[in-house]
């Protein structure tokens, strides 16, 4: 199984499907930990396993709870400080639960000069939350990112695995609303993209 750059662009990995348990309810941690065991067993002896395993763990739990990080530390024989250092380095990883939909606003150079900040501001107003926060109904989390590698589409945002290009501040509410509706109508089927 390869994990070269680009295969794990989304919030989940290609190899590990999202948690079946709906994140609107409490995540069954024990179940998730069991699934993490399987991942760790598979990756244990592979070099450079830490980041892909963290990505999969985040796919399973929706975020990286302490219990998962400790299991990864022991399972991959990496010190807890090293695991924490990697988690803290990448903005992709979160140690707090996220909402059902993750909005990431690109503030890389191209997106920044083409109005990324204004888009971010509009989203903040629309959701009533700040960067790094989650709406009280746990529908949306908001984060910023540096360059998706989609500079030609600037300003870009991603919502879950979808890239939205040339976003205008005035259109932000429409985009967000489409996910609100999706969440409601497809709640039973849709995989959780934490």
């Amino acid at each position: 199984m390869g994990w070269r750059g680009g295969e794990h662009r989304g919030n989940r990995t290609m190899t590990e499907p999202a948690c079946k348990c709906n994140c609107q309810q409490d995540v069954d941690e024990a179940k998730c930990l069991k699934r993490l065991d399987v991942v760790i067993r598979e990756y244990r002896d592979k070099p450079g396993a830490l980041i892909p395993v963290l990505q999969m763990a985040q796919g399973i739990f929706g975020y990286l709870p302490e219990s998962a990080l400790k299991k990864i530390s022991l399972g991959l024989d990496k010190s807890y400080s090293e695991v924490a250092g990697v988690v803290g380095f990448y903005s992709f990883f979160s140690t707090v639960p996220r909402g059902k939909n993750l909005i990431r606003v690109c503030l890389g150079t191209a997106c920044y000069v083409r109005g990324g900040m204004q888009v971010l501001e509009a989203i903040r107003k629309n959701l009533g939350i700040d960067v790094g926060q989650t709406t009280p109904d746990r529908q949306f989390s908001l984060e910023v990112a540096r360059c998706f590698g989609a500079c030609g589409l600037a300003p870009a945002i991603t919502i879950n695995d979808d890239v939205h290009q040339r976003v205008k501040s005035a259109k932000v509410h429409e985009i967000i609303n489409s996910y609100r509706k999706k969440s409601k109508s497809t709640v039973a089927k849709k995989k959780v993209k934490a």
Binding site: Y80, S81, V83, A84, G85, G88, F89
Partner: protein
């Protein structure tokens, strides 16, 4: 071998050599704040930049390998200004309190600023914030002073394979420390203090207990005794500018008397005692295995080094039965000073204050372990590092070099050469072999000068085998048995050895482990900075101390014989069990 020129001088060095290393061969000392010989070269600090003709930008000489025909300039205006700017930028972030900083006299950043003629810090930048972490018994971290050179990260992660310290977060907010910026007591840290030994600034230092010692010395109701570890006598002189490898045993004793300690004793005494107890423990285990064909934990691992004990408790809890149950010499000393010696001088345990001087941070932690109270009170009240003793001597205005040569007080001050070599990697093993061999065969260990050459020197992992021949009747069942021993120093090496033993790839009867590379002579509490060259000099000094002694085998120590006759009874006896042995507990790694 590539040929190149550095500042016009022709240089020829092996392929792959860094420019920094190549420059040293012709007497050009390129400054650096992060590089550590044989451990780590990552170009983090950017102080070592040089100009390479034809290259667009300056190169970090610690990571740039030499190439054929290179023309390197180490002292052009461009280089000078760049280095100065780097140091100015580091200083602009550095939240230093230089006048009162622990590293005031040996700070590498301060020294370099001076050397590079930095007179002002022109950048009014934001300071690194951090706060003080004094959560552990041995170490204090001050992240505001950290320059992110990552030496501690390499030494903790790669040399010791503990991994308590790692860069956390990102960019300007990067903190070098435990998981998510937590305090050190929240992660598996063994308190070896190798981080403090390599830190170029005051970001990691020992937790000082000097004031507690002064208070005890001033307290008329306390009888204050001091014990000094073997390794200190080969390094303390460095605190006073003496050459590494200068033996200062006599001067050290005189200085301790002038500091007004009521009795100056030697941890060597309990090192000899350790050999008797641990040697008999080994013979007991061998008897069970060879004669009785019983189940017993072999190899037996030494237990003198408290960082190693904590390492086992965290990383190999299932192997704890393999550790010798002997306390370390420091703790044996504390328990005996407050029982045996207390009775001799008519004092109660609580009126005696035991100070130890150790090359070590882990000894601070060990002395505070809750089970180390077999005398009824805390057995060792304070453990100082070699550096702290150096500071106390300076504070008292004692001219160390002019001290006369004095000897340790008696009852717990006599020692043999076997105790001295506890300071060196391989020393405890050699000392044990000197005694165990003689117990089993009735003859002296058959090696020139009583040394076991394969166990000497700075290699990380060493092995030896001796086949027992001519055993006395009581030990005849050991006749023809090949005793296999191994020695490792540095916890990364210890781990390699333990893994081999666990997998069955190697098998031994007795294994000596020292937490720090080179053993206690390279301890985290020793004068800075310990390089392999300095380790070698201290190591040789310790062997000289050993060879200079009339008595060189632990069982010949007359005061050890006396304590068994008057107080302990027999090795592994009931009193020994109570005062000299201990037990260990598994600790959660995360």
């Amino acid at each position: 071998m590539p040929k190149l020129t550095i500042d016009g001088c022709p240089v020829e060095v092996p392929e792959g050599t860094s420019i920094l290393k190549a420059a040293r061969t012709i007497g050009v000392a390129i400054p650096t704040l992060c590089q550590m010989e044989n451990v780590h070269a990552i170009g983090a600090c950017r102080v070592c930049v040089v100009e390479v003709e034809g290259a667009r930008s300056l190169a970090a000489s610690c990571v740039m390998p030499v190439a054929e025909g290179m023309k390197i300039h180490t002292q052009t205006q461009r280089v000078r200004e760049a280095r100065k700017a780097v140091v100015e930028l580091l200083l602009s972030e550095h939240d230093g309190d230089c006048q009162v900083c622990d590293r005031n006299d040996d700070c590498e950043l301060q020294a370099l600023a001076n050397k590079l003629n930095v007179k002002i810090v022109p950048y009014p930048g934001v300071r690194t914030s951090g706060g003080i972490d004094d959560s552990t018994p041995g170490l204090v971290r001050d992240s505001g002073k950290c320059i992110k050179c990552r030496r501690c990260v390499s030494v903790c992660g790669q040399v010791q394979e503990v991994g308590a310290l790692f860069p956390q977060f990102r960019g300007f907010k990067t903190v070098i420390g435990p998981a998510f910026g937590a305090d050190l007591d929240k992660v598996a840290c063994v308190q070896c203090g190798q981080c403090a030994a390599v830190c170029p600034v005051g970001a990691i230092t020992e937790k000082s207990n000097i004031e507690e010692v002064w208070a005890a010395l001033d307290d008329k109701s306390k009888t204050v005794v001091v014990q000094v570890a073997p390794a200190v006598r080969a390094s303390l002189g460095e605190c006073f500018g003496m050459a590494p490898g200068t033996l200062v045993t006599g001067k050290m004793v005189a200085a301790l008397r002038r500091l007004k300690f009521d009795a100056v004793f030697d941890t060597n005494f309990t090192a000899d005692l350790t050999i008797i107890e641990e040697g008999h423990e080994l013979l007991h285990r061998l008897t069970t295995a060879v004669k009785d064909k019983g189940e017993v934990a072999l190899p037996q691992f030494t237990s003198c080094s408290p960082g190693w004990i904590r390492y086992m408790e965290y990383f190999y809890p299932e192997m704890l039965p393999y550790l010798s149950t002997c306390k370390s010499p420091q703790q044996m000393f504390g328990a005996l000073a407050k029982t045996y010696w207390a009775a001799k001088v008519g004092k109660k345990a609580e009126d005696i204050f035991v100070v130890s001087v150790m090359p070590c941070h882990a000894k601070k932690s060990e002395s505070g372990r809750p089970e180390m109270t077999d005398s009824g009170v805390r057995d060792v009240d304070v453990a100082l590092t070699t550096r702290e003793l150096g500071r106390m001597i300076k504070q008292a205005g004692i001219d160390f070099e002019r001290m006369p040569e004095e000897s340790m007080d008696s009852l717990m001050g006599a020692s043999t050469g076997a105790a001295d070599i506890f300071a060196n990697t391989g020393g405890v093993m050699e000392a044990a072999l000197r005694t165990v061999w003689e117990v089993v065969t009735g003859r002296e260990l058959p090696f020139l000068n009583l040394h076991v050459p394969p166990l000497m020197g700075l290699e990380g992992i060493k092995h030896a085998e001796v086949t027992i021949a001519g055993a006395v009747p009581a030990w005849s069942f050991l006749e023809g048995v090949t005793v296999k021993v191994a020695v490792a120093s540095g916890l990364g090496n210890a781990r390699k050895l333990v893994e081999k033993i666990k997998s069955g790839e190697a098998s031994y009867h007795f294994v000596e482990i020292m937490t720090c590379p080179g053993g206690c002579i390279g301890g985290g509490g020793q004068p800075r900075t310990t390089t392999n060259e300095i380790r070698q000099k201290r190591l040789e000094a310790i062997y000289r101390e050993d060879e200079g002694k009339k008595l060189r085998k632990s069982h010949e120590n007359p005061e050890v014989a006396q304590i068994y006759a008057e107080f302990l009874g027999v090795p592994l006896g009931e009193k020994s069990h109570h005062l000299l042995h201990t037990e260990y507990a598994a600790r959660a790694r995360v």
